[in-house]
Symmetry: C2
Subunit: 349 residues, 2 copies
């Protein structure tokens, strides 16, 4: 489909740049996505040096990834601002961006951007990560932007605190202030649920008897949840997971049900922790929001219900919205200069 | 050293045959070890078929492993009995030996041996495994023999129940009846502590920053224990383990301390479960025994103390003693026939 967006609509190039992929967005005057490009150029998988050449400086591979994803946009819009979040700001990224101490507001994040000069091009701005020092330390990098995007979602709008769950490899549960006048991240916890599941399935005896199910087995998932919270709860996680094998040995759990059963045990333990931190009963329980991959949000909603939480709001993927919010707060969208050339239609998606 | 044992002393060939190794023991009239051979021929690593040959029947690779380990013993002692325990009796072993229901006594195990005919040789007897059906099912195969060996240890002798801990890849905690007239296994639980540690270190982000310590770091181990049982206990295992990374990021936990810290978190969670199942305080707490690799027993003893348990007795490795006890109960040691040839000294260790 030919690109019909007017040049004057282009207000920001937003980058969601993680460990395994780079997603680039061209955003319009209201933050709407005019065009999106997905590339496999995560910070651990940058494009190689062309044959016969050598990188002149450390950021060259990042610049190459950026040019591959959206060099045409940058050429056509030479003064457009570039804002990125995620692991691109880690020690292994293009430039290490600071961790701000939590609690931190939208304005704190906008004031804390790290600026990377890019030769003749417009500089890249990187959103800081967050560090929580109370108790066991906790960090996030990318999720702070996602949560600010969730808070801007009108379906989530709340005058007070909300509890935002971001299920995944490293699940985060974030207490945020939803009031639009003082949006902020108050505190958060991390659970390695997704990565532990993958390690148990891929690298322990539990995976040896598993078969991939044709469709998600919600009954097996519920059975795993029940083990995590039921009469055997005292045994704990390290014992519960072994029942994936023993129920298989005794013929009570088919091979195709074992992965969902194990998923239920692990997510059940995560929600058990959440229910200790934020008891679901009480006069004014904190509103819950889930943001993540659809099937994972579905599973987490089932688990939350099993532990007595009210149904969560399911928010749309929100990283690009969060980048837009930060760009506005940082004044990155308001100073578009005159554009020298019309946007090249041949590149439009 | 030349073997000086008299032929008439040889009463049993005992085999501890697991997933990764085969240990063969020639035992004397009082169950003492006259000679030991260790081979890498675990059931998942049997010796290959010699070039140009083919195995005539399914057990051929197991017979080849047995001949390599102690074919000379069997040739010199053609009527000696052979008793094995461990994964050799699993579905992937030489012959699947039944699971007896727990509770089970020494006599139950001795009556439940599986007999494998070996052509012209003396048959192989395999100790049954145990299956506990109450609550989440639980299984053991090999540990039942180890526990019966522990109970025969005079330093462990108890007129009543004892709680035997077998730390390792899959830690077992076994309630056993120590009274010599009715030795039995009452019930048990399994914790995947060792295998989870290996999977987290080898296949998650936590291992990426770890360096092997020059010596066990007991301070880091104690710090991990404290996280498992301290003021952050509500967060649970899936959150605690992430602090291995965040304490590293904030400079609070050196790379060489991270493995022992993670070990402390995991063993701490195992002992937390144990303390819920068997509270350490009370009028007559159950006596504790540990049996396993020395440094692991040392760590578990520290963890037990942190949770308020009395110091455990450390028992010697006991599988061969357990095999001897079962052989006596099964009458396998009492009918040695005349031996046709003297034991070949050239093979003696």
């Amino acid at each position: 489909m030919a690109n019909t967006s007017n040049l004057s609509d282009n207000r920001l190039v937003a980058l969601d740049w993680g460990t395994s992929s780079l997603r680039a967005f061209r955003l319009g005057a209201h933050g709407q996505v005019l065009e999106q490009r997905n590339r496999p150029w995560g910070i651990m998988n940058l494009p190689p040096v062309p044959a016969g050449q050598a990188d002149a400086e450390p950021g060259a591979a990042f610049e190459r990834a950026l040019q591959d994803a959206c060099g045409d946009w940058l050429a056509a819009l030479p003064s457009v601002r570039l804002l990125a979040c995620g692991m691109v700001g880690s020690a292994q990224g293009w430039r290490e961006a600071q961790y701000l101490d939590a609690p931190a507001s939208l304005d704190d994040l906008a004031r804390g951007l790290t600026v990377v000069q890019r030769g003749s091009g417009t500089p890249l701005h990187i959103v800081p990560g967050l560090l929580q020092r109370t108790g066991l330390p906790n960090v996030m990098r990318g999720e702070e932007t996602q949560v600010l995007g969730v808070l801007a979602d009108t379906s989530v709008a709340s005058p007070g605190p909300v509890l935002v769950g971001l299920p995944g490899t490293h699940s985060k549960w974030v207490v945020a202030q939803g009031d639009s006048a003082r949006r902020s991240i108050q505190g958060f916890h991390t659970f390695m649920t997704g990565e532990v599941f993958a390690a148990l399935r891929g690298h322990t005896i539990l995976g040896k008897t598993m078969q991939a199910p044709a469709a998600p087995d919600d009954a097996a998932f519920a059975q795993g949840l029940q083990v995590a919270r039921g009469s055997d709860a005292a045994l704990g996680l390290l014992s519960h997971i072994f029942s994936t094998r023993t129920l298989g040995l005794t013929g009570a759990l088919p091979a195709a049900a074992q992965a969902d059963y194990l998923s239920g045990i692990l997510i059940g333990h995560e929600i058990a922790s959440l229910s200790r931190l934020h008891p679901p009963t009480g006069a004014a329980p904190i509103p819950l929001v889930l943001c993540g991959e659809a099937d994972l949000c579905r599973r987490y909603a089932i688990a939350l219900q099993a532990y007595g939480f009210a149904p969560p709001t399911i928010a749309a993927q929100a990283t690009v919205t969060g980048l837009w919010q930060i760009a506005i707060a940082a004044g990155l969208t308001t100073t578009l200069g005159a554009e020298p050339t019309p946007f090249p239609r041949s590149h439009a998606a």
